[in-house]
């Protein structure tokens, strides 16, 4: 079973202050008001798809995004100056418009393990988990 998935984040061209987040492997799209929020949202949406398809007996990987979406990722991967430390994403969000992260999709229970914690803190935790699982040496790739 595939354990790591590619996520692409782009600034919305139509919704101000919004990031469009897509799981390329599952072709799931959702939104967030910040990078951290978008990451939290796309992990939740992806987990829901995995659980729904498992229940329905469907192969979630059959949902794979079309080639033009994967081409965006390839463009990121081939741009040598596109790598930035994930730790700088919070402070440099205004400097880029698209980035990608490869990570595992946590169980919903893991995302919300501490319901007493405020939402913002949970979002940071999820982002940190994604960063730690990045296959790019703790870096996301961005343009």
């Amino acid at each position: 079973m595939k354990t790591e998935f590619w996520f692409l984040f782009e600034r919305s061209e139509q919704l101000p202050d919004t990031w469009v987040a897509q799981c390329l492997d599952l072709d799931v799209v959702t939104y967030g008001r910040s990078v951290e929020h978008a990451l939290e949202m796309v992990l939740e949406a992806s987990r829901m798809i995995l659980d729904e398809d498992a229940e329905a007996g469907l192969d979630p990987l059959a949902r794979r995004a079309p080639k033009e979406d994967w081409d965006k990722l390839e463009k990121l991967r081939q741009a040598p100056k596109a790598y930035i430390p994930v730790g700088m994403m919070n402070t440099r969000q205004d400097d880029f418009r698209i980035f990608a992260v490869q990570t595992e999709i946590p169980k919903v229970a893991q995302v919300r393990r501490r319901p007493a914690v405020k939402r913002g803190r949970v979002a940071v935790d999820v982002a940190a988990a994604a960063v730690n699982n990045s296959s790019y040496g703790h870096s996301a790739i961005a343009l």
């Binding site: 919704l15 469009v20 897509q22 072709d27 799209v29 949202m41 949406a45 798809i49 729904e52 329905a56």
Partner: protein, 74 residues
């Protein structure tokens, strides 16, 4: 242009798709087709949530709908 999730829900239901509201502290509702194929609907702000063209394109691709026809129903 952005579209309200309320309108997406209505247009999807008109095509025989079932709508399941978000659960608990979740931020996503779901749509489910007759064959059990689910699609996730952003619902951060409930039915007031707005989505843009890319979401409509993905939704239409998932259920093999004509995007122009779907947008005309929004």
């Amino acid at each position: 242009m952005p579209y309200a999730v309320r309108d997406v829900k209505r247009a999807a239901e008109a095509r025989g798709i079932l709508y399941y509201p978000k659960k608990g502290k979740g931020s996503h509702a779901k749509l489910k087709g007759p064959a059990g194929k689910a699609y996730i609907l952003p619902s951060h702000n409930g039915l007031k949530t707005e989505v843009d063209d890319i979401y409509i394109r993905k939704l239409c691709a998932c259920y093999e709908w004509d995007m122009d026809e779907f947008i005309a129903d929004l």
